[in-house]
């Protein structure tokens, strides 16, 4: 064998090595690409890849960075590693779900939030909000007027509860005439509750209640009916008084 032959042999083996490496790089990239697709799909539909399988996949591509040539290949490699992390999180989460009750998980979350907070320091002042303040705060819900359309939609949605306010001024003679009407209408008669609801307006119901509390009229429950009587010293009944809930519907 001449020196020339030896040199030629060396060139051939070097060239075949380069080919082999480039083929190998292609195989590695192909593996990376397929695994990335597999994990991103699994994460999307939340299918868990087992620990062993995931570990095997990671080992398969652990040396891949040695063969990566351009930015695109490096990006796929990073994306795959990010997917490995996400998959591990998903797996942990699902184990946690199986192991812990929701309340326990929530408790741990609350503990973490408390651990991460760095509370403000206060020596002076109130340590808690007074109960009365919370009470009054609960009663009102603020509707922001800046969105007028929102206010309109709120009113239209709750139309049945929105009552336009009217100012009604009554003189004493008006009261007396209504009281007289109530006397004429009810005293000595029996009605059931439904009938009363239809017969009374809200003002009349208020006045009737006032007359009963002022002991001008007494009401006796007979069966499911209410008997209205004028209250005198002779017919006064001793007993426990109670209230009747009326929902006047008359306008």
């Amino acid at each position: 064998m001449t020196d020339h032959d030896l040199v030629n042999d060396g060139k051939i083996s070097e060239g075949s090595k380069v080919d082999e490496i480039s083929n190998w790089a292609e195989v590695v990239f192909q593996t990376l690409f397929e695994l990335e697709k597999k994990y991103s799909r699994s994460l999307k539909v939340k299918t868990i890849v087992g620990v062993q399988e995931s570990e095997d996949d990671r080992v398969r591509v652990s040396d891949a960075y040695l063969y990566l040539k351009n930015l695109k290949e490096n990006l796929i490699d990073s994306a795959l590693y990010s997917d490995f992390i996400d998959m591990s999180e998903l797996r942990e989460k699902s184990y946690l779900e199986q192991l812990l009750y929701p309340e326990k998980r929530l408790e741990q979350f609350a503990f973490l939030v408390s651990k991460l907070s760095q509370a403000v320091f206060a020596i002076e002042g109130e340590n808690s909000i007074p109960v009365s303040d919370i009470g009054t705060f609960l009663e009102t819900d603020e509707i922001l007027l800046e969105s007028e359309s929102e206010l309109e939609s709120f009113i239209s949605k709750n139309k049945e509860y929105v009552i336009p306010l009217k100012n009604i001024i009554f003189s004493k003679s008006d009261y007396m005439s209504i009281e007289r009407d109530i006397y004429d209408k009810f005293v000595g008669k029996k009605f059931n509750r439904e009938a009363l609801n239809v017969m009374l307006s809200s003002i009349e119901a208020e006045l009737l209640s006032k007359m009963i509390s002022e002991k001008k009229i007494q009401v006796i429950l007979e069966g499911d009916k209410l008997l209205f009587e004028e209250l005198t010293d002779e017919n006064q009944i001793e007993g426990v008084s109670s209230s009747v809930l009326l929902s006047p519907v008359k306008k």
Binding site: E89, E92, K93, L96, P102, E103, R105, L106, E107, F109, A110, F111, L112, V113, S114, L116, S117, Q118, A119, V120, F121, A122, I123, E124, G125, E126, N127, I129, D133, I134, F137, L138, L144, E146, S147, E150
Partner: protein, 202 residues
């Protein structure tokens, strides 16, 4: 003609003395001690302003109380920061409606005022706000996460939201929940991101 009474004259002199503004260079050490004591009391105060709990004092109030000019006040506060640092405290600056406020915070630990359930609701709100979703964070969305999934009772979530508003953690802007000053000072950006990550696990 009668001379003006002596008393009136002296009170006028006192008034003039009161109006002299002392600059830090002219403040004696004993005066400075008094000033720092008062600052500690003012900055460690917790009180309710416009239905929201606030800590410390606004810069404007400090200016009015000390009658310093703005630069003098800030210089004094810088010196005060060094003074409280020895005690393991830091002077914190925060903003309420564009106004600068100051309060004290422990460098190490102070217990949170919220209970477990309330912390979970706050964590949920932080998780939702930090999340990538572009949808507005409404009360319905919070309930969807906690009530619909059966984790909490509706009245508890509603009460807690009200409490968080009062305590200065969150505020509502056009029916959307946003952070108020207290979330920003008690939870750093890194902490909020961590809460959001953990929130996904519940």
């Amino acid at each position: 003609m009668e001379e003006p009474p002596q008393e009136e004259f002296s009170s006028h002199e006192e008034d003039e003395e009161m109006n002299i503004i002392k600059l830090p260079a002219t403040i004696a050490d004993s005066d400075k001690g008094e000033l720092f004591k008062e600052l500690t009391t003012i900055l460690s105060r917790k009180w309710i302003k416009e239905k929201t709990m606030v800590f410390g004092c606004s810069e404007m109030d400090l200016l009015l109380a000390t009658r310093f000019d703005i630069n003098t006040l800030r210089e004094t506060l810088e010196e005060y920061k060094g003074f409280v640092e020895v005690l393991g405290l830091e002077v914190l600056e925060y903003e309420i409606k564009g106004e600068r406020w100051y309060c004290l915070r422990s460098n190490f630990y102070a217990p949170s005022e919220l209970e477990k359930g309330e912390l979970a609701v706050l964590g949920t709100i932080i998780g939702l706000i930090e999340g990538k979703s572009k949808e507005p964070i409404t009360t319905e969305k919070i309930k969807e996460k906690l009530v619909v999934t059966g984790k909490m009772k509706e009245y508890f979530v509603e009460n807690t939201i009200r409490k968080l508003v009062r305590q200065g953690y969150i505020e509502r802007k056009q029916n959307e929940w946003k952070y108020n000053y207290r979330v920003r000072i008690e939870f750093g950006e890194k902490e909020r991101r961590k809460i959001a990550r953990e929130f996904r696990k519940i």
